[in-house]
């Protein structure tokens, strides 16, 4: 019995750093600390209740959509239709006769149903038809965008104020956006302890081994897509609650943001490695960077450039850290 083995250790709660290194979350957290610091420096009232809850309300959609992407990436696939899907869900919500479908709850239920449908189409194409996810979801993304344009050629429509009010309010003293994020992350935490969640990781890590072990590959991948799209629905509802109208181009930027957040969060695009918490960190980094650029009063012509540089710097940082780990 060597020292390395011994009786099974129950995972020590204090062994955070090794776990962080293993999950690849370290650099993401460090970046989060840096941008938070900058934010605090530029925005002295960063910790005030209003500012915090405002920030959370703004970041919530990004976070949810990035976590959705993370779930799919963990299963060794990718979804480039998330952004267009957000737009489509938003347009559906805005074009519904709000009162006739059961008020805000009805609208939200329909949004979730639409999302599940979209996720099922992507999941079936990728898992069952065996199409490469990068291109297949790019194609479905075009279709979602086309459908959004069909429903709503111009930005417009109305989403009931009730949804907006509820989103901006609190429940049991907790801001609703924070609550949504908490529910989503708890949902993942539960799934990750369930057989199905473990199987998503196994399939992402080595599909052939998973298949040989009798794990239903297709069903597992489909599940990853469905879970992700429920998160997308939450994200779409959150952003619709802020805009209170429909826009067929609303979600466009989320697709690439979600991929960037996944990378910053230390999730391997090769699948199986990392956790959705990384995507949450990545999404916060992206959101705070935007804040910093805004509060630093950078001229608009510089903003794109600075944002690009920050992402490139983040990538370089990730790579250096990754090489050190290797």
């Amino acid at each position: 019995m060597s020292a390395a083995g011994g009786l099974p250790r129950t995972g020590s709660a204090l062994a955070i750093w090794p776990a962080l290194r293993r999950s690849g979350l370290g650099p993401g957290l460090l970046m989060l600390a840096v941008v938070t610091g900058l934010n605090i420096a530029l925005q002295p009232d960063f910790f005030s209740g209003a500012s915090l809850s405002g920030n959370i309300a703004t970041f919530a959609p990004t976070i949810l959509i990035c976590v959705a992407q993370a779930v799919i990436v963990l299963s060794r696939e990718l979804d480039l239709s998330l952004g267009a899907g957000v737009s489509l869900i938003n347009c559906v919500m805005a074009s519904l006769p709000q009162d006739k479908v059961g008020g805000p709850l009805g609208v939200m239920a329909i949004a979730i149903l639409v999302a599940i449908l979209l996720g099922a189409v992507n999941g079936l194409l990728v898992a069952y038809a065996g199409l490469p996810s990068l291109v297949a979801t790019f194609a479905t993304g075009a279709i979602w965008f086309g459908l959004a344009l069909t429903i709503m050629p111009q930005p417009g429509g109305v989403i009931s104020d009730a949804i907006g009010d509820r989103y901006a309010g609190t429940l049991m003293g907790i801001p609703v956006p924070l609550l949504i994020i908490a529910v989503a992350m708890t949902g993942w935490a539960i799934l990750a302890r369930h057989r199905s969640g473990r199987r998503i990781m196994a399939v992402g890590s080595n599909p052939q081994a998973a298949r040989d072990a009798g794990i239903p590959l297709r069903r597992t991948k489909l599940l990853a897509y469905l879970v992700a799209w429920i998160l997308v629905a939450l994200g779409a509802i959150a952003i619709s609650a802020q805009t209170l109208s429909g826009d067929p181009r609303l979600g466009t930027s989320y697709t690439l943001a979600s991929v960037a957040a996944v990378v910053i969060g230390g999730i391997s695009l090769g699948g199986g490695r990392g956790t959705p918490w990384g995507a949450l960190v990545g999404a916060l980094v992206l959101g705070l960077v935007t804040n910093v650029i805004y509060f630093a009063g950078i001229a608009s012509s510089w903003q794109e450039f600075v944002k690009g540089l920050v992402i490139v710097a983040a990538l370089g940082f990730m790579v250096l850290e990754g090489q050190r780990r290797a």
Partner: protein, 506 residues
């Protein structure tokens, strides 16, 4: 593992199984009846259909014809899981694990121990995992991702997983390829105990000594046909087996004619070569006309040594001197320019372009190394390929055949053949006959011998000691990243090599 009740007696029988791939028959109506409580040895050259047969029995592949009988009743397996459900479990030759998941989760992959509502019971799984690994002699941190384990450890995890599924038929597909002798012994003890409890076991190996030591029955396959089967009573008629395997009984008996190492010039000198943790300072001289063998247990730095000399792994310290010139290669290309060529360990991942044809693969080095990138010397390449195929005795329909459809031995010949267009001065071979049948093995060493006869030299690492004893002029034994013994002439004996492999130098 030890505390389960054996399943009720059940017999799995394969009857007249046939399977062909793209019109090429891999199995032509093969019967196999592994008996409960006995170990059935399955022998056959590469491409004889052993693995295909086992995959069909385990439900990983559907047969074209024939049937599987379970206690006399025909069954059909749609997925591997159906096989497992009927107690048929296979441990693959190449571990089939999820690299990012912890060891304990891999042990229950697809068969998670779950509590209420399908939630994985962590504590119970981890405790069971620890016991399973102890049983096969593996003492490791079960929380680390499997990718951190060595090849041997991964193999043991694969085996432990198979053992834990309480099989009534256990298929071990070359389980010992990556294991040291001590671990093999431990595994065998375990397999015998399992057989004694009534399990039927199919054991595949290329190592005849292991089959002799473990098996009760023997079936020999050749080209998808069953060519022989008999009960073993503790000893194996090696000549008969070799005869059946190859139709050529003196295949193994032609030892290399060793010439005295008189004033041969030194081609390659290594001084204190170190790279990473695996290679800790190696000195050696390689002479012209020589086949120098690297022996030792698996994972003692032999592969890393060859990789470092080939420029595939950066050296940390030490000198590589080739024909009087010290070299610090940055990439294999630097060494290939000087005629130092590597036949890598993993031919599928490192040696071949699996989607390409035999001809394209043979021409790969010539295309890469020719001076003008804008030209393609089609005629010269075609001539070279036409010469290389007969020279290496590659069994192929022609240069246009996809390399993926060749047998393992012929694929390996292609990997060696791609070097023959240029001038090879030092040929480095990393386990060149892994998974290669006996005849191809001999032909590969004949090619190496031809090559060194022309004044170049070869440095060969092989996991099979007999192979090295047979074909090399000298043998260096590596242990923990260093050379611990140099043997030549009459000192080259199995005993000396094995002793040195365990760090015991006479």
């Amino acid at each position: 593992m030890t505390d389960h009740l054996p399943l009720p007696p059940g017999r799995v029988t394969a009857r007249r199984i046939s399977k062909s791939f793209g019109g090429v028959p891999a199995l032509a109506g093969v019967d196999l009846e592994p008996r409960p409580g006995r170990v059935l040895g399955l022998l056959g050259a590469n491409g004889s259909g052993k693995s295909t047969l086992c995959r069909i029995i385990a439900g990983e592949m559907a047969p074209d014809g024939g049937e599987l009988l379970l206690d006399g009743e025909a069954v059909r397996f749609a997925t591997p899981k159906d096989g497992v459900r009927h107690g048929i479990v296979i441990a693959h030759q190449h571990p089939s694990l999820a690299p990012d998941l912890p060891v304990w989760e891999n042990l229950f992959l697809g068969m998670e121990r779950c509590g209420l509502g399908g939630f994985v019971s962590r504590a119970g799984s981890r405790r069971a995992a620890w016991h399973m690994l102890q049983a096969v002699g593996l003492d490791i941190d079960i929380d680390q991702p499997v990718e951190r384990l060595s090849a041997a450890e991964q193999q043991l995890v694969e085996i432990a997983r198979a053992l834990s599924r309480e099989p009534r038929l256990l298929i071990l597909d070359e389980p010992t390829a990556a294991l040291s002798a001590a671990l093999v012994e431990r595994l065998f003890a375990h397999v015998r105990a399992l057989a004694a409890s009534g399990t039927a076991i199919i054991f595949i190996s290329h190592r005849l000594q292991e089959v002799e030591a473990l098996c009760d029955d023997l079936v020999v396959l050749r080209n998808g046909h069953r060519v022989g089967s008999w009960e073993l009573d503790g000893s194996l008629d090696e000549a008969r087996v070799l005869d059946l395997l190859t139709g050529d009984s003196d295949v193994a008996s032609r030892a290399r004619d060793r010439k005295p190492q008189a004033a041969r010039e030194v081609v390659l000198t290594l001084e204190g070569l170190a790279a990473g943790t695996a290679l800790r300072g190696v000195d050696l001289d390689l002479h012209s006309g020589e086949i120098l063998g690297l022996a030792g247990l698996q994972g003692q730095g032999q592969e890393q040594l060859l990789d470092a000399v080939a420029g595939f792994r950066r050296k940390d310290s030490g000198r590589i001197v080739h024909r009087g010139r010290a070299l610090s290669p940055r990439r294999p290309r630097d060494m290939i320019r000087r005629g130092i060529c590597l036949v890598p360990n993993d031919r599928h991942r490192q040696g071949l372009f699996m989607n390409e044809t035999v001809g394209e693969n043979l021409a790969a080095v010539s295309v890469a190394m020719q001076p003008q990138p804008w030209r393609l010397r089609r005629r010269a390449l075609r001539d070279f390929v036409q010469r290389a195929i007969p020279r290496l005795l590659i069994k192929t329909r022609g240069p246009a055949q996809p390399v993926a459809t060749l047998s393992g031995g012929n694929q390996q010949k292609v990997v060696i053949g791609k070097w023959l267009d240029g001038s090879v001065d030092v040929l480095l071979l990393s386990d060149p006959t892994k998974g290669v049948d006996l005849r191809a093995r001999r032909e590969i060493y004949d090619t190496i011998a031809d090559l060194v006869a022309g004044g170049s030299a070869a440095l060969v690492y092989a996991s099979d000691i007999h192979e090295l004893l047979h074909h090399c002029d000298r043998i260096l034994v590596m242990f923990e990243g260093r050379i611990v013994e140099a043997l030549s002439g009459s000192a080259m004996t199995e005993q000396r090599v094995i002793a040195a492999s365990f760090g015991r130098v006479a």
